[in-house]
């Protein structure tokens, strides 16, 4: 075992780990914002509106993430649309995750008892205030744990971004092992870092689970 390589190259791995964290955090936050209108559109009762949104959400969820990355990075340039690997990586991670987040929020929204909205209206809430004060908090509380689990999937999917040369953790680990021929040591460290990150999110999920029990519907 030559763990001194890791020590010598720690800055490469640390930079990769940092990239993984911020790209996941950024696309996670963006997709949460985008998922709200998507979920709202999925709740609309008009078929003309729901159908295309539903088709996109289901379509995205039915293809492997790596395929979406390839489509964006290799196929769009053929059509004359060329993006940097960063843009391509961030955008594909975000829209892929938005499909999942949107569907999760729609599910939580559909399960919100109608009486909750009734109670809001009876007390004079309507429109934006009704959504903001009464509906959304309940949806986020009940969907919280599932959203958290989806973030873990997002983190693992981000490893695919190495194929379009984004220097995230998997990419960095692969660099280091290829230069020093130390696959075992390097990948063990990379795996540990992923495990650490996902466990941290898992911890947050557990807290959200408890919140959902106390502040959710019986």
């Amino acid at each position: 075992m030559r763990f001194e390589v890791i020590i010598a190259e720690w800055s490469t791995l640390a930079a990769g780990f940092a990239t993984t964290i911020w790209i996941c955090a950024l696309s996670g936050a963006l997709s949460l914002l985008l998922a709200l209108p998507v979920a709202a559109l999925l709740m609309v009762r008009r078929a003309v509106i729901v159908w295309p949104v539903r088709a996109m959400v289901d379509g995205l969820r039915a293809i492997p993430f790596l395929m979406l990355v390839f489509l964006g990075y290799y196929c769009l340039p053929v059509l004359g649309l060329k993006f940097s690997s960063w843009t391509c990586g961030l955008v594909s991670l975000t829209i892929y995750n938005t499909a999942y987040f949107g569907e999760i929020l729609r599910g939580a929204w559909a399960h919100l008892p109608r009486e909750q909205e009734d109670a809001g209206r009876a007390f004079g809430f309507y429109g934006f205030a009704l959504t903001r004060r009464i509906i959304l908090p309940q949806i986020f509380i009940s969907a919280g744990p599932v959203l958290g689990n989806q973030i873990i999937t997002l983190i693992k999917n981000s490893a695919f971004l190495m194929v379009i040369t984004i220097p995230e953790l998997t990419f960095a680990a692969n660099e280091v092992q290829a230069i020093y021929f130390t696959p075992l040591e390097t990948l063990i460290v990379a795996v540990l870092l992923y495990w650490l990150l996902c466990s941290a999110v898992e911890g947050i999920v557990r807290v959200m689970d408890r919140v959902a029990v106390v502040r959710g519907h019986e």
Binding site: P113, D118, A122, F123, G124
Partner: protein
């Protein structure tokens, strides 16, 4: 003519709730037919009747959670749902919301907001609908919690409360907006029998304190003792209006007699 109206208005104060010729159908099912009813300030009216007789729909029409097909509803003299006297234009959401804060509603299944604490439930509408000052609203909410004997539950979430406590909180929430009238939709029907008493006792105190109330209920004991007037509904028709004394001892209509007999 003007003299007549002056005499009439001075003889009878404007009722808090006035319902004229109310009608409502769900599809081909006629649930309310030609309902006329007034509730005067400080009075408690209990609405009785077999299930499916339209009691809940009647209640929900008053604050327009259910939109009536015919008739008019007035709250302290102001038309609900429409602006202007005749057909009028439908109220905007904003106008309806303003009316709704003057009507407190207590639901059969409590419908407390689970994401807010007990105090949070009480101050939500005063703060974010009525836009009143926070410290004033909190002080009043604490007073209300004191009144229903739940001040120690102030910062607890509803999931931690018993059914009876939930409904008492729901009553306090309904009072927090300082409504002109409180509507109760079978407030004890989803409670375990041993929890009914605590809710009824809060309601009895309110009735005695001069709160205007309209109560849909199956609790005949409560109706008999706390109501100023009994309204008996059957198949969407207002069949009988009477004092509790008269209704429970000498009901005038056959349908009311049968209803009371079935209750034993």
């Amino acid at each position: 003519m003007w003299l007549w109206s002056v005499v009439m208005s001075s003889a009878r104060p404007t009722p808090v709730v006035a319902i004229r010729g109310l009608g409502k159908s769900f599809g081909s099912l006629r649930v309310l037919n030609e309902i006329d009813l007034e509730i005067e300030a400080g009075k408690t009216v209990c609405v009785l009747g077999p299930s499916g007789s339209g009691k809940t729909t009647l209640l929900r029409c008053i604050n327009f959670l259910e939109q009536p097909d015919e008739g008019q509803i007035f709250l302290a003299g102001e038309r609900v749902g429409y602006v202007g006297d005749a057909q009028g234009r439908p109220m905007t959401q904003r106008e309806l919301a303003r009316i709704r804060t003057r009507v407190g509603m207590v639901f059969q299944h409590f419908n407390l907001w689970p994401h807010l604490t007990v105090l949070g439930n009480l101050i939500e509408a005063p703060l974010y609908v009525q836009k009143r000052r926070r410290n004033e609203v909190i002080a009043e909410a604490e007073e209300l919690l004191d009144k229903i004997g739940l001040q120690d539950k102030r910062d607890i979430y509803p999931s931690r409360l018993s059914g009876g406590q939930k409904q008492r909180v729901a009553i306090a929430r309904a009072l927090a907006t300082k409504p002109r009238v409180l509507l109760f939709d079978e407030p004890t029907s989803s409670l375990d029998p041993e929890l009914v008493g605590e809710v009824l006792s809060v309601m009895r105190d309110l009735a005695r304190g001069g709160q205007t109330m309209m109560v849909v209920t199956h609790e005949m004991g409560f109706a008999r003792e706390a109501a100023d007037e009994i309204v008996f509904l059957d198949e969407g028709v207002l069949v009988e209006r009477a004092s509790p004394e008269q209704f429970f001892t000498k009901p005038q209509t056959k349908r009311a007699q049968q209803f009371l007999q079935r209750l034993g």
